[in-house]
């Protein structure tokens, strides 16, 4: 395991995973996720439908964003097991945009609770929570 943590070490209050830049996602990335997930909602492909929904251009799937959370946490703490993951999609992320993902332990112990934030510049676009168990 890489990183400063020993195998099985509990997550500590206030610990933070290094922030990671995600994206920008291309139209091809969105198409690949649509094919892999089966979610072909035209909102993500049709500029006219996106415009009718009040968006400047088609957004990426919220689940494409959420799908990045588990790999992010696993890269930080490969010894931890995800038992709950939840997300609120606050603002759409448009294709071509990049965001920053960060995570902080807000309740230590086993399981530990982490708050994940996704920001586009200073704007919060997604707020999530992960519950992790660290097997000894």
């Amino acid at each position: 395991m890489s990183g400063p943590f020993g195998q099985g070490e509990r997550l500590r209050q206030g610990e933070m995973a290094p922030a990671r830049r995600l994206g920008p996602w291309t139209a091809a990335d969105v198409a690949a996720y649509a094919a892999a997930s089966g979610d072909d909602n035209p909102l993500h492909f049709d500029p006219a439908i996106a415009a009718a929904a009040g968006l400047a251009s088609p957004p990426i799937h919220g689940m494409l964003l959420m799908g990045c959370f588990e790999p992010y946490l696993a890269a930080w703490r490969p010894d931890a097991r995800l038992v709950r993951l939840s997300a609120k999609f606050i603002r759409p992320v448009l294709a071509g945009e990049a965001v920053e993902l960060s995570a902080k332990v807000v309740r230590a112990g086993d399981p530990a609770v982490l708050r994940l934030k996704v920001k586009r510049d200073a704007e919060l676009v997604c707020l999530a929570e992960a519950i992790l168990r660290v097997d000894p």
Partner: protein, 124 residues
């Protein structure tokens, strides 16, 4: 409110494609935590969900999602996915609760999906 159950499973190829699309470097036979979304997009599930939203001119916008795992799900295993959907108004939403059970009926995972229904065209 409607409830329906579906037989689901994940092939190695499906999981590989899903991992590639979400830049998930993990391997092994455990499904990515968000993989069950693929089952929600299957034709049978879609038919159930579309029946709950018969109006034309609405598109779903994902507002919230959660997954709770008692045990990991694995490639090649067969599961029973039971979904309960219900509508909310003002604002218009479709809420979907799901549970995933093994062959013995043990609940391995639960999920909740919140879709905001946005008008993008003239209602029929």
């Amino acid at each position: 409110m409607s409830e329906e159950a579906f037989a689901v499973a994940a092939t190695e190829a499906e999981v590989e494609a899903f991992r590639a699309a979400t830049a998930c470097a993990q391997d092994g036979d455990i499904l990515p935590s968000t993989f069950p979304m693929r089952w929600l997009a299957s034709p049978a599930v879609r038919q159930m969900l579309m029946a709950a939203v018969p109006e034309l001119g609405l598109v779903p916008v994902h507002e919230g999602q959660s997954f709770d795992y008692e045990r990991p799900l694995r490639v090649g295993e067969r599961y029973r996915l039971t979904l309960v959907s219900r509508r909310e108004t003002e604002p218009a939403r479709l809420l979907v609760d799901g549970r995933i059970e093994d062959a013995d009926g043990a609940v391995l995972a639960k999920l909740e999906t919140i879709l905001r229904l946005v008008v993008v065209g003239e209602p029929a």
